[in-house]
Symmetry: C3
């Protein structure tokens, strides 16, 4: 019955809440497809092993050619509808498993073996622009001219580790966006590693202002110090993250929330960890140890909690992904698709309100065929943290690593069960012929 | 596909059969909500561990405060819809896991930490009257004035054991009500522990008459002896049960059938076992041994049988819950939701016919806004058993334990896998935002 | 969500593609029910153990009486709808598990124990004609006069082994029919045991012509040799199969594709293996060894592949059912229900085109109440193979075994996990009350 209820929720919520569905042709789907989005991790894509991929409720084939180049193509063969991911990579081309039709990396059909290629020119497959960047595969899934891929220079060049730390969440993506600029949940949802409410995130100290990039979200403490998060439209956040290693001060992070379908999404996360030499080696070793210690996936632990079979306290408070588990409980606790029509928002929800307003304004412009705002990072969209627990207050980019021309080492710190969860969701088979 | 079929069955059957659905706003749902119903077992509700609860297709939060008091509240926080069962009990109040809003046991919002409580008075949560009684949590889920909680004095005070012996069944609740006053199935469905048909339950000896409490169901044997079951409206039965312990004669039982949703229900069962002193200790020990011997849940065994992978005979004929397994096979064999439009009822179905007629009469009165019959137990609604296998014929209340002022010991005899089944169903997560 | 998507696909595809659904009352269902179809394996039906059976989206009870006779009856008892497969076989009759109503093998109700048989004559159950033949149970599920059961004399009498080698596939049956006369997929889908494309199945050499029985499908090689498959309407194929035993040359096979529901079907397969004496003993031993070596079902392996968690090459290339796994990947890769509206058919698809055309012509005749073509095998519908890898070219029936009056030994060569898969699907419980 759960399946039915989800579907019902989805249809019903979609009707009233245009932020929910990103399926092809929906307002939110159209808008989100106007941006480059990360869709996969480079490290997960092996040459010669195409995968089926589900992004924003649409199915694709993703593969890495023998040259190393990444190709994103449609899910099915135009001949008889076979799933192309089962086929063989030949050079940078892909050959269908059923009757051997061959498609070049630009989608052109170059062979129909049993049909002597009589109508190859009539049966190309669709492909989409992709780029590998910062350890991820980015794609532009929209219509019209392909925009420039936005760059994050300070994550490209620095002396340190660039950590891949993404996770899957089994609820609508916008619940995570809502949660992005919501400082007042931290004291409660995450109170297992932070003391209870101490005026951090108090509504009267919060500001959410439209910026060049999206929303600048500022909390001003009683002592005047400020913490600033930057939300980048449509689905990105940049923060100075909490330290979780004894040798690392505040680290900067970039997150993207990308829908797999309307009831699950992936947060692509990278951390910029300024550590080099032997410090980096020690940090790396600790991270590898911690990722191995996760036995039950946080998604499964959350199911146990929300179905009343366990409490959060029943799980190890030292697990490296505790924060994710806590956010799982909060966000999935809202339902797989939250019902925003029943909310009672207050002063502390200014971030939530601001982000939704921007999305709806832009979706409305798009529907009317009017120009969208061209969001971009600028000097004004710097993040800022404050002094806590012995660390120095930080303004992003002020650490010594910044000036470096060094190329960071990209390291995967996702727990192994996390990777398995991601694969199971991202690789959803295109059973639906539509 | 099974999921789809269930949903289809449900919609289709609901349209024609108003006994099936007890979801909010349905005729049967409205009627059943006019009575106190058991919704949980006291022993399962630990202080400080709120649980999500699903009853009659509606979601709730149930918790026990630090004082021991039980509170039944709505499922979601009015702020952003988080699932309240994930929150923390503070005294007898409940604090939300997401942003720390606090709700007193009467539903009043007493804190909105990050919002400085500016609109607490506008965001109470709904709560419902609850009582703990006979080892169970009873709730009144209806509108209007709360009626008196019906009492069963002879189960409150006697020298002996009050056994908690409830079970989950994965079909519509009314199939179990139909089965309640159907003596003629016993010789067949339960023939693994009873000889085949020997005129017990023969249609011509059966009578089902409206009583003060519901239906008095009487079978008169060829030798003139009578067996009497009492059905209490709307979903209760009182019987003198079969003996299953060498030292216990006929024991009296009370059963309530409570829908979890339209495709599953729980039978809350208590047995009044008149045994004290060393006899009670021996009975208790045997019961504890027997509950531990169940490895595969009867619900799973039933699935094996109805899907043709096993026969009833393949399972241990001595399992303590054999009768449940047999009834599972009969009732789930009718489909998760039985199709009453295809029946061919005869003289032996007088009990079934009588109960449905009463329900439909009362539902019709309720729909018309006319007064319902005020059902109550009386002197005329005594149960009666006959002499069998060396036991004495019994009229309820005539055993020596009756006169006692002793308080029975409440003991849990549910098999451990049974408890797990109940938790999984009762704690269904409120995924549906409606 | 997969469940939902399947259902959506089904409804949507059914609307436009009348080949998909064989549920009662559908065009394809009506047509397929005009023929005898295998519905079960004789060896799987034990006396005294009735089973629930799902064929063409309809539920039945199948049992073998004490005399050995097979009876196919409706799924539910007409009294209160209990599932008859849970009941007891008494002689060749069946007694219901709930209230003991007894039904003779012709469907007549002969006992209503608790109702003193007052209306037995009004509550017969429906039964259908069945025959055991070639190791299978055949049934005629249609209306009107029962036609003769088609016979295959050369499979009845020969010196050798008649192998039962059926399998379950979790997609619509017509994708397998489409695949039946599609020689050009062999070089690719099955290229793990055959070299890549070598002009076998080249469109210009293929012919698909209507025959007395259905479609004669011929491929003429560059050297003039011919291979001929015979498709028998509506869902049968006869081929000379690939050798998979060192002592057996080309063997003949008969396949029937029978829908369980719209999203799964079973291929009933028998192989006529001309081997006697010690050769037969050695062949038999090798077959028994090979069937035992399968650990993961090919259906599950296919799921792993189509969901991107494994590649075909990750599985043992020597597994006896490799060809099934390969066809699984191709056919389920088209979706659980293929979307034929998106195809791009070419010259090499003449077999596919021919079969669909015949089905649609006959379905149209049936809908109009006009006479259907009376398909039958004839001298003209012989299969033919060509010389390959040291085997002699064969025309069916020309081997020495043909003349024999010997009765073949029927042997089961299905892998054990395959049998389990079949039982799980064929025994789908009749949860849907319709």
């Amino acid at each position: 019955m759960v399946q039915i209820q989800i579907a019902k929720a989805q249809r019903s919520a979609s009707r009233v809440d245009d932020l929910v569905s990103t399926a092809p042709g929906t307002p939110a789907g159209n808008y989100l497809r106007r941006f480059w989005n990360p869709i996969y991790h480079s490290i997960d894509l092996k040459a010669g092993r195409p995968v089926p991929l589900r992004i924003m409720s649409e199915s694709y084939t993703l593969y890495r050619g023998d040259s190393g180049e990444v190709v994103l193509a449609q899910a099915r063969c135009p001949h008889r509808g076979a799933q192309l991911s089962a086929g063989w990579v030949e050079g940078d081309a892909l050959r269908c498993f059923y009757h051997g039709w061959k498609f070049e990396k630009d989608g052109r059909c170059s062979e129909q073996p049993a049909d002597e290629s009589r109508f190859c020119d009539k049966v190309p497959i669709q492909t989409w622009p992709v780029r590998e960047y910062l350890g991820m595969v980015f794609a532009y899934l929209g219509d019209g001219e392909t925009p420039e891929l936005p760059r994050y220079p300070e994550f490209e060049r620095f002396a340190g580790l660039l950590e891949i730390d993404s996770y899957l969440r089994r609820c609508n993506y916008f619940q995570n966006i809502d949660n992005a600029l919501d400082m007042s949940h931290v004291a409660f949802t995450h109170s297992n590693n932070r003391a209870a409410f101490s005026r951090i995130g108090l509504g009267s100290g919060l500001k959410a202002e439209e910026s060049d990039w999206g929303v600048a979200y500022t909390f001003t403490r009683d002592d005047g110090q400020q913490r600033v998060h930057q939300f980048g439209m449509p689905n990105i956040v940049q923060i100075a993250a909490l330290p979780n290693d004894p040798e690392i001060g505040w680290q900067e992070s970039l997150f993207w929330w990308v829908p797999i379908d309307d009831v699950s999404h992936i947060q692509f996360s990278i951390h910029r960890v300024p550590a080099s030499g032997e410090t980096a080696a020690r940090v790396y070793a600790r991270r590898q140890t911690r990722r191995s210690q996760i036995d039950i996936a946080h998604q499964d632990a959350c199911d146990e909690i929300l179905s009343g079979r366990a409490r959060l306290d029943d799980f190890d408070a030292d697990r490296v992904d505790l924060v994710r588990l806590q956010d799982d409980v909060a966000q999935l606790g809202q339902g797989v698709i939250a019902d925003r029509s029943q909310e009672a928002l207050g002063r502390a929800d200014v971030g939530v309100t601001a982000i939704r307003r921007l999305w709806r304004r832009e979706m409305s412009l798009l529907a009317d065929g009017r120009p969208l705002k061209a969001w971009k990072r600028s000097q004004a969209t710097k993040v800022r943290a404050w002094k806590i627990e012995g660390n120095l207050a930080q303004v992003a980019g002020e650490d010594t690593a910044e000036a470096s021309d060094a190329v960071p080492e990209i390291v995967d710190v996702r727990p192994y069960v996390e990777i398995e969860q991601q694969m199971r969701s991202l690789h959803a088979s295109p059973q639906d012929p539509r």
